[in-house]
């Protein structure tokens, strides 16, 4: 036990004495969170919208023409029922749907009050917000043009329904995704490089020729990164809550527990990678490329998985971060409890055990 403690202490020395590692370990996540949270926006140009015109009167045609004339939109005229609307969003056919009820003009002229419904996909809240604003302003504009006087007896009020994300927080999308990305990347990278560094420097030889079961070497390397990743997680959550205004709806303990699971999976992956190579550069490359691309593509925070062709959807199932992302969104954003995510947790648990098992099994007790 004393030996294990001595190992762990040595590993902490290594981490804290290497300024580059520290920078990566802490700087990277913070940078990513802030970047994703603040800086990234989507463009609104040529967004597809569908106009469901049940009224088919002059006014609705006029408004529709105005919408069509705008360069922000690509218009499609179609009648869609509720289900069709949902699938229109799922398939990406529309980013917004404008619904004119049957007696639009009549209501407007006789009752001095008519309603238009604008439905947008707010899982991308930035776009949703902007779209609704554009559409609303075009309608307002029309309104002003038909009654140039100040007082507006005829009013069209738009009722906006943001589905999937009533509060319109952009970060609900990104923060869980960045958490997954950062935890995975950093853990895999750091662990694999740390182990391969020992091989490259020759100290691994000396460690092997000692009474210690080399598996303790590995565990001692994983421990500092495990602890530091949890610290990282805390920082990310603090940033989200206080800077990006994203409170944690559910149980913090559950969040940390699930994160610990992902970290373990990442550490096991790092160990696996380190078994297959003897050069730090190769370890870094494999870790970055092997982890970053699948995580970015298949977690579901940058690109909706449901939009992908089904072979890729199947592939996404073996990416641990995908399950973690669902779990975090459920716990952190929706405030759900364990009952809601026990399936995903089980899957993640299974993956972690599997990875730990093969990485330990493949660990070499000799040089070749």
């Amino acid at each position: 036990m004393k030996q294990f403690y001595s190992f762990v202490r040595k590993e902490f020395y290594h981490v804290f004495r290497d300024s580059k590692t520290l920078l990566m370990l802490f700087g990277l996540p913070i940078a990513q969170i802030l970047l994703f949270g603040f800086a990234l926006t989507n463009e609104i140009k040529d967004s597809s919208i569908v106009v469901c015109d049940y009224a088919k009167d002059e006014t609705t045609f006029a408004i529709t023409e105005k919408l069509a004339a705008s360069s922000n939109f690509k218009l499609e005229r179609s009648i869609l029922g509720a289900e069709a609307i949902a699938s229109a969003f799922n398939t990406g056919r529309a980013k917004a749907v404008v619904v004119f009820p049957q007696n639009f003009e009549q209501s407007l002229l006789h009752e001095y009050h008519a309603q238009v419904q604008i439905i947008t996909d707010a899982s991308d809240p930035n776009t949703a917000n902007t779209l609704t604003n554009y559409i609303s302003s075009i309608i307002m504009d029309y309104q002003r043009s038909i009654s140039p006087t100040q007082k507006l007896p005829y009013q069209i009020s738009t009722e906006i329904r943001m589905i999937y994300n009533p509060e319109l927080k952009g970060v609900t999308n990104y923060v869980p995704g960045v958490m997954a990305l950062v935890l995975l990347l950093v853990c895999v990278l750091m662990t694999s490089v740390s182990i391969v560094k020992e091989k490259e420097m020759g100290t691994m030889e000396i460690l092997l020729v000692s009474p210690i079961n080399p598996i303790w070497v590995i565990i001692s390397k994983a421990l500092p990164y495990f602890a530091l990743s949890l610290l990282n997680l805390t920082i990310i959550l603090l940033l989200s809550v206080f800077m990006l205004d994203l409170p944690i709806a559910g149980s913090i303990f559950l969040l940390f527990a699930e994160s610990a699971l992902l970290i373990l999976a990442a550490l096991a992956l790092g160990l696996l990678i380190s078994n297959s190579t003897n050069s730090q550069q190769a370890a870094m490359l494999i870790s970055l490329m092997g982890m970053m691309i699948p995580t970015l593509l298949f977690t579901g925070f940058m690109f909706p998985i449901e939009n992908m062709p089904w072979p890729l959807q199947i592939i996404s199932n073996i990416v641990p971060s995908k399950w973690y992302y669902i779990i975090v969104k459920s716990v952190m954003i929706k405030g759900l409890g364990f009952e809601a995510i026990w399936k995903e947790t089980l899957i993640l648990l299974g993956m972690t055990f599997f990875l730990l098992f093969i990485s330990f099994k493949k660990f070499k007790i000799r040089l070749a």
Partner: protein, 304 residues
């Protein structure tokens, strides 16, 4: 019983493409200072790695302290000390932290075996808070040796400990080894420097994976088949060239200040030779008999 035994050990790499160790057998007695002498690529590191249980041989058996290197590797790993080729300590830990770590690794402490390393450690102790990476080559060597000794191993394996180090540091290192031998530790050292061979009790000359000769250094030089001569002149380069033209002279090799050679029939024809060389306008000729060095023997065995 011998502390280290190798029996027909063979090792190849790249699926048999590279023959690193070719049917090597030898034994090292307890408390012996044994040298494995040969150039890079001769197979020294492979042999050491097999003995320290880091590699499995293709065929043959080997044992250390009576334990088989393949089956009982755990027992061996508890008992031996190992200093691999490159400087393999933690660059970003201090001298003291390194030593402490290795002591703990072997379940002991610096204090327990301090008397063993005291002579060596006292030379680097003033620098004990310095990071190991910032030490000079000679100091790194001493630290590595301390770390290999801190648990009082029964057998010490030193793989090219003096490579790339200047002659002064090399001398000091061998002095340290001699004192360690007095403690009863069996020491196996590999080195490409032939002049270090004489500092060992017994040596094995190895080239291309094969052992060419094993014996005490004095015995090996005694077995040099012919009388060796040393000769020098004002123009050594020309001398070498001219010597090689003489048909009754063979085995000419430069050896620093002198050239070494033998007479082809082992008959002393120095007078004829000097006569010939003077005719070639050589000045300040000095020719005399000399005792062979290990390097002479190595070259002879290589060419055999």
């Amino acid at each position: 019983m011998s502390d280290v035994i190798l029996n027909h050990i063979t090792k190849t790499y790249d699926n048999g493409a590279i023959q690193a160790v070719d049917d090597v057998s030898f034994e090292v007695e307890k408390g012996e200072l044994f040298g494995l002498i040969g150039p890079d690529g001769a197979g020294k590191t492979s042999i050491f790695r097999i003995l320290t249980t880091l590699l499995l041989a293709d065929s043959g058996e080997a044992s250390v302290n009576g334990f088989d290197v393949a089956k009982d590797y755990r027992e061996i790993r508890k008992r031996i000390g190992y200093m691999p080729g490159k400087f393999s300590l933690y660059q970003d830990l201090t001298v003291e932290e390194n030593l402490d770590f290795f002591a703990t690794l072997f379940g002991t402490s610096i204090q327990e075996n301090y008397d063993l390393i005291k002579d060596i450690y006292s030379q680097i102790e003033p620098f004990k808070t310095r990071r190991a990476g910032k030490l000079s080559g000679g100091m790194k060597q001493k630290l590595a040796l301390c770390c290999a000794l801190i648990h009082r191993p029964t057998v010490l394996f030193l793989d090219e400990p003096t490579t790339g180090v200047d002659t002064v540091s090399r001398k000091e290192f061998w002095e340290m080894l001699k004192r360690l031998k007095a403690e009863g530790i069996t020491i196996l050292v590999s080195t490409p420097y032939m002049d270090e061979a004489t500092l060992c009790e017994r040596i094995a000359l190895i080239q291309d994976g094969k052992i060419m000769s094993i014996d005490q250094p004095t015995q090996i030089t005694a077995q040099y088949p012919q009388q060796l001569y040393a000769i020098k002149a004002a123009n050594m380069s020309k001398l070498l060239h001219d010597l090689r033209q003489v048909d009754f002279v063979s085995g000419t090799n430069s050896f620093g200040e002198y050239h070494h050679f033998s007479f082809t029939d082992d008959v002393d024809r120095s007078d004829d030779l000097l006569h010939f060389l003077t005719n070639q306008s050589h000045k300040n000729l000095d020719c005399h008999q000399t005792t062979p060095t290990i390097e002479d023997c190595f070259i002879h065995l290589m060419n055999a």
